[in-house]
């Protein structure tokens, strides 16, 4: 469905996307995860024909993107991370405008718009002005907008960012429904758990490079060889983190407030050594518990998350 071959994008001296390759099969829901500034938006904009790559090729259904812009635009639906709406335009007129732009006949557009408003639960708002809607509603409306021409591939740039938890749940439900409808979806986020239940595949990007990619299961397996532990301390979190970082068996440490999470390679004997070392250095350990592997930790480990 979608193939990126060695895409590089430079903004002057900054390399936002660095030799990135990616393959998405039809029907997949691909989670594109990475910290802020990793190059997600840039990559998605290039796919959506809104930016031209410095080098590399993109194919959608074997169509070369940068030389078949119109054709590609009718296959993809794009929702930007940040967007605005027009004043003095009502919800249904907003969708009508974008279906006009997509070249859809008025009669067909009317029924499509009504279906889309049902899908995003905005049918009751169709006569209200767009700029009076809440942020979550605008985001759903923008999603409906990206669907007016019935695209096969959806490109969603952080569709749930800045939403309250309820709105997030609603957005997830809609996306799941779209997945069931057979749409291929490429969705980005800087928070992995948001995507882990929704996606079939995950790609992790950092500093413009793809550092991990595969099915959700594959990525899980990759890190099972290491053990994850969460400990709680009374105080001196910083000292504890420092101490753990010096340990060569420990591959990853993250401390916040009085909680510290770390991964180490080895068995229970090594664990005992680590705890002994903490206690010997007067770190007041309150509790410790082994953790199940989950995607968030993997994400935290793979990316360094410099923000």
């Amino acid at each position: 469905m979608l193939t990126l071959n060695n895409i590089t994008k430079k903004y002057g001296k900054i390399t936002a996307v660095d030799n990135l390759s990616l393959k998405i099969q039809e029907g997949q829901i691909f989670g594109f995860v990475g910290p802020n500034g990793a190059g997600k938006t840039t990559t998605l904009k290039i796919i959506a024909t809104l930016l031209k790559q410095t080098s590399g090729n993109i194919y959608i259904n074997d169509i070369e993107v940068s030389t078949n812009v119109k054709e590609v635009r009718s296959i993809i639906g794009y929702m930007p991370d940040f967007f605005g709406v027009y004043d003095n335009l009502k919800v249904d007129e907003y969708l009508e405008f974008y279906s006009d732009l997509a070249g859809i006949q008025y009669r067909e557009a009317k029924s499509v718009i009504s279906d889309l408003l049902d899908l995003v639960e905005l049918n009751s708002k169709k006569n209200e002005y767009v700029d009076s809607l809440s942020r979550g509603m605008k985001q759903r409306l923008c999603l409906a907008r990206s669907l007016v021409h019935n695209p096969k591939l959806l490109i969603l740039d952080e569709p749930a960012s800045g939403m309250d938890p309820r709105a997030r749940v609603q957005m997830k439900r809609i996306l799941r429904e779209l997945g069931k409808m057979g749409k291929t979806i490429l969705i980005s986020s800087h928070i992995l758990p948001e995507l882990s239940e929704l996606c079939t595949n995950i790609g992790i990007i950092e500093k413009g490079r793809m550092v991990e990619s595969g099915t959700v299961d594959e990525i899980m397996k990759k890190s099972i060889s290491s053990n994850n532990v969460r400990i709680k301390v009374l105080d001196s979190t910083q000292n504890a983190v420092k101490l753990l970082q010096e340990d060569s068996t420990i591959t990853y440490v993250y401390g916040e407030d009085n909680k510290i999470e770390f991964s180490y390679q080895g068995d229970d004997k090594d664990m005992v050594k680590i705890i002994k070392r903490l206690v010997n250095n007067d770190i007041p350990v309150v509790s410790f518990s082994p953790m199940e592997n989950n995607l968030e930790e993997i994400f935290m480990k793979v990316t360094k998350g410099e923000e």
């Binding site: 904009k45 024909t49 940068s66 605005g84 732009l101 070249g103």
Partner: protein
């Protein structure tokens, strides 16, 4: 199918308070001017002289020139935010990423501004028709004048769209488009006067000899809409607004400055609109076009 951008612009523009205010002010200005010139003429000549056709001519002249100036004043303001406004509102990517071509988007923006101008011209018809009623003017006169206004709405609209496509902020775009408009009206006239003075001084001092010095007409003046409208007015009411400042002398066809002016205006408009369309197309970079040409040139040399 009507241009989607035009359709949406008309829909949203009609809902703002700006449009009715512009139209009302326009009617007020034109009819105020009409009355002012009318009263001035009527009072100064005394009642026993009655109403002279000459005062009709003055009214027509005043209304024609002021309407021209109003269009030059209004059109940049309605187009200078057309693209930069989309960027500022963060709707630009959504607009540009659709199947509609860049040039259609540009033309949609331009035509929505033209619709406003046509609306303004329509509301001025009742006032203009008073002149028809008193005689001395034919509907053709007004049609020619209006057609010329439309050409200039395209001309100055293209300037506003151009600055809007190339400059990020609507405020800068507005200022720059007004500076360009001011130059085209005042600047070109100023340079024409200077050039003429220089030209005649050279004739007087015998540096050059020409058979028909009156026909001197600097090219820069063809960019000025008043080169066209002065021809129209001279033809219609036998009045040269530039008096001796600029004359067409004994050119074989006195209409030619009008035709050249229209040609220049439309050509400049086309160029500006195409450049704007290229500018808003994310898949084409103007820099790259030049780069590519340079590469071609250098490779030829090698």
């Amino acid at each position: 199918m009507i241009n989607p951008v035009l359709k949406k612009e008309l829909r949203t523009r009609m809902r703002t308070w700006k449009t009715p205010i512009i139209i009302s002010l326009y009617i007020l200005l034109i009819s105020g001017l009409f009355l002012f010139v009318f009263m001035n003429n009527f009072m100064s000549r005394g009642y026993h002289h009655g109403f002279r056709p000459g005062s009709l001519r003055d009214i027509y002249l005043a209304v024609a020139v002021i309407q021209m100036l109003l269009i030059i004043y209004i059109v940049p303001a309605t187009t200078a935010g057309s693209i930069s406004g989309e960027r500022e509102r963060s709707t630009f990517d959504l607009l540009i990423g659709t199947r509609l071509s860049s040039i259609s988007i540009i033309l949609g923006k331009l035509s929505s501004s033209l619709v406003l101008v046509i609306l303004l011209l329509i509301v001025s018809i009742p006032i203009m028709s008073i002149l028809l009623l008193f005689g001395g003017f034919s509907p053709q006169n007004i049609i020619v004048l209006f057609a010329f206004y439309i050409v200039n709405a395209i001309y100055f609209g293209s300037i506003g769209i151009f600055t809007s496509a190339f400059l990020k902020k609507t405020s800068t775009s507005t200022v720059v488009s007004y500076i360009i408009a001011l130059f085209l009206v005042g600047g070109t006239l100023f340079f024409t006067i200077i050039l003429r003075a220089y030209y005649f001084s050279r004739i007087v001092s015998g540096v050059i000899t020409v058979q028909n010095p009156q026909s001197f007409y600097p090219i820069i003046m063809y960019f000025n809409p008043f080169s066209g409208i002065s021809v129209i007015l001279e033809n219609q009411i036998d009045f040269n607004i530039f008096d001796d400042l600029i004359s067409y002398g004994t050119q074989s066809n006195t209409l030619s400055p009008l035709y050249i002016n229209i040609g220049v205006s439309l050509l400049v408009s086309c160029i500006l609109l195409v450049l704007s369309a290229i500018r808003i197309n994310p898949m084409i970079k103007i820099k790259n076009i030049f780069k590519r040409n340079k590469l071609k040139n250098t490779s030829k040399k090698v």
